[in-house]
Symmetry: C2
Subunit: 394 residues, 2 copies
């Protein structure tokens, strides 16, 4: 290992964070953009939530362990990470369901607005808008161009394929000038970029708890609704979004702020893991996170230059926490790399994604991952038949 890599790690303001994670020995995990790793805090909290709170406290834990406020408590922690006020974020449901709620709420407040989404967006975001459009008797046309007039645009802040970062302020100005609104999907941004969501002028967003926020497999997602725009009425009006759910009153009175975007009873065990995982961001400056993510990505690109791989990721300043490299046999190459203990993932048709989670990765990890990729390509070991077998989830 070269001296400058050691130096980068020694001077890293986030160097103490890795100790909070349980990274398996010998593994270089570059897939935190897909599923963040377990933290020691989440492990302990899950044990305590299951064995003490559920096991011993039973129903009383809704009060005694504050389960009832957990969606707001975890929401406030995410708010700090993305740059929102505490009551502007609520943890609930999945990204898909949350997108549905926000899109439907916006449609209700601006019936003339048309749904809009780029055909290259994350598929489930398109599916959800498509399903909602059909329900309302409309037809969704996914495409790069915005239709004329007001739109309800769903847009990822970080593109899942390339890692490219969109410009919130520009997009908001364009869409708002025509009377429309944007729902930002922060799934690949929260926990890796210095999003500053409120400062940027964004009013609505959804995001994922299990990627860079490390909340655990299928962790509950979140909704951000800016305080001055949170008076929307969302249609999946379950009791947890009610102002006083335990009054069992006849009429629906939505809770104040983002809390009205909650619906049914939240999955408390999964929520506890997320809530505990978020403590890894305690005292962390999101600007340091973003800077390190980009430096890690730059280092990886630098060290894999000349291997004949094409990157579809933009330059550092416009890139999120991932670098995407194209190889015709990307699936097999990634499998061979995984066999060498370097875990990234693959997106059809030919994209190898490498995620750079700044809290647990060291510069040295990234350098050795690049070495492994070099080896896999130079020896052509990816041609081994066992690496071409497709698995269900990739």
């Amino acid at each position: 290992m070269t001296l400058d890599i050691r130096n980068l790690d020694a001077c890293d303001p986030l160097r103490d964070r890795r100790a909070l994670f349980e990274i398996p020995a010998g593994l270089t995990y570059l897939d935190g953009n897909s599923l963040g790793p377990l933290t020691i805090a989440a492990k302990a909290r899950l044990r305590s939530a299951a064995e003490h709170e559920w096991g011993r406290g039973l129903i009383a834990s809704w009060n005694d362990a504050d389960w009832i406020r957990l969606p707001a408590i975890a929401g406030a922690k995410i708010a700090r990470v993305i740059g929102a006020e505490a009551d502007e974020v609520i943890v609930c449901d999945s990204v898909s369901v949350n997108l549905f709620k926000l899109a439907a709420a916006l449609k209700r407040s601006t019936p003339a607005a048309q749904f809009a989404i780029d055909a290259a967006e994350f598929p489930t975001d398109i599916y959800i808008l498509d399903g909602l459009s059909s329900l309302l008797g409309e037809r969704l046309r996914a495409g790069r161009e915005l239709p004329p007039g007001p739109v309800i645009l769903v847009k990822s802040l970080v593109d899942f394929r390339t890692g490219a970062v969109a410009d919130i302020a520009n997009a908001e100005a364009e869409v708002r000038s025509a009377g429309g609104a944007i729902i930002w999907d922060l799934s690949h941004a929260a926990g890796v970029l210095d999003v500053r969501i409120k400062e940027s002028g964004a009013r609505f967003a959804v995001g994922c708890g299990y990627k860079f926020l490390n909340g655990g497999p299928g962790a509950p997602a979140f909704v951000y609704a800016r305080r001055d725009a949170s008076g929307l009425s969302q249609p999946i009006s379950g009791w947890m979004g009610h102002a006083r759910p335990f009054d069992f009153a006849g009429g629906y009175v939505p809770a104040e702020g983002a809390a009205r975007f909650a619906a049914g009873t939240p999955p408390i065990l999964s929520l506890c893991a997320l809530d505990a995982a978020l403590d890894a961001f305690d005292g962390v400056d999101p600007a340091d996170v973003e800077t390190k993510a980009r430096r890690l990505g730059d280092l990886f690109l630098e060290r894999t230059e000349g291997l004949g791989l094409r990157t579809i990721s933009p330059q550092s300043g416009r890139r999120g926490g991932q670098v995407s490299l194209v190889h015709e046999q990307g699936y097999a190459v990634m499998q061979a790399l995984i066999a060498r203990g370097v875990v990234g993932d693959f997106r059809p048709p030919d994209i190898m994604r490498f995620g750079f989670s700044p809290l647990f990765l060291r510069y040295a990890d990234v350098a050795s991952a690049a070495d492994a990729l070099k080896l896999v390509l130079s020896t052509e070991e990816w041609r081994d038949q066992r690496f071409s077998m497709r698995r269900l989830v990739t």
Copy 2:
């Protein structure tokens, strides 16, 4: 303890089940209708899911630990408990969200049908239909009488206040003859009644994982869609309901059967707890469960006769797994009872609910709970000021 109580426990075909649960010593837990207790299997599974599957296996566990099939695997276990085919049940989201999906899907297939629900139904069920109606520009009128013409009726199989059981076959005949459909809410029925959902003629249902199914706080819920009626198109069309979610294809192709009612990524940790908890029903005959639940309820009613309490629950044959007793100061009485280690719950304005989960309760537990209630009432210890303090969740 009387000899006949001992005898009832000794002859109970479910007597070996209690050992599967972690019931705190000294506690008589009559609130399994609100939150079922922890099982030893769920505890072990959660540790392994968090520490081994997530912690060590990371992203590979979607394949290696079969996370991807877990909604269907747990669904098949619930199917056995409620009397459906394995592929007719899928575990996903919350009851609220699932109700929304089914109601919207049915509305799409029968646009002329009006939503209908009794004003005495569980509040969140009403809120959800209300929210969906507003989204579609209609107005929900909750009431006991069905409107003329086809309806999409949401109906609990077991009433949450009284424990009364509805007649599926009768209701289905009435609603179907007018071209409508019923969505049954099995939340207070699954795991305690011999539902025989398919045999009964019901076509659609939702239900809760955290009550009599013991899946853990806020456990994911389920959807039942009869095979010959599962071709519906539901609007929250997230990628997990897609036939091939990892193709990242542009168009939405719904999965076969009930699986199309899945939406976003499921909360795997909570889902693992539910899946493991369901194994407590392995080899259990649902008819034995129902019979015991009713006998436990009868015993409790018998032993609390003459205490001046009124029951709003029907006779044994038309009652689910709970007995509801009315007392003007029901809240304080229940708190006093809880202080004595007998846990039931309270529903406004004056209803004390006692749930009789047949897998972990003994006849002896129920007899001693009745004794405790007798004591609380005869000594009037519920008048103690500390029992009148309302807690957030009751």
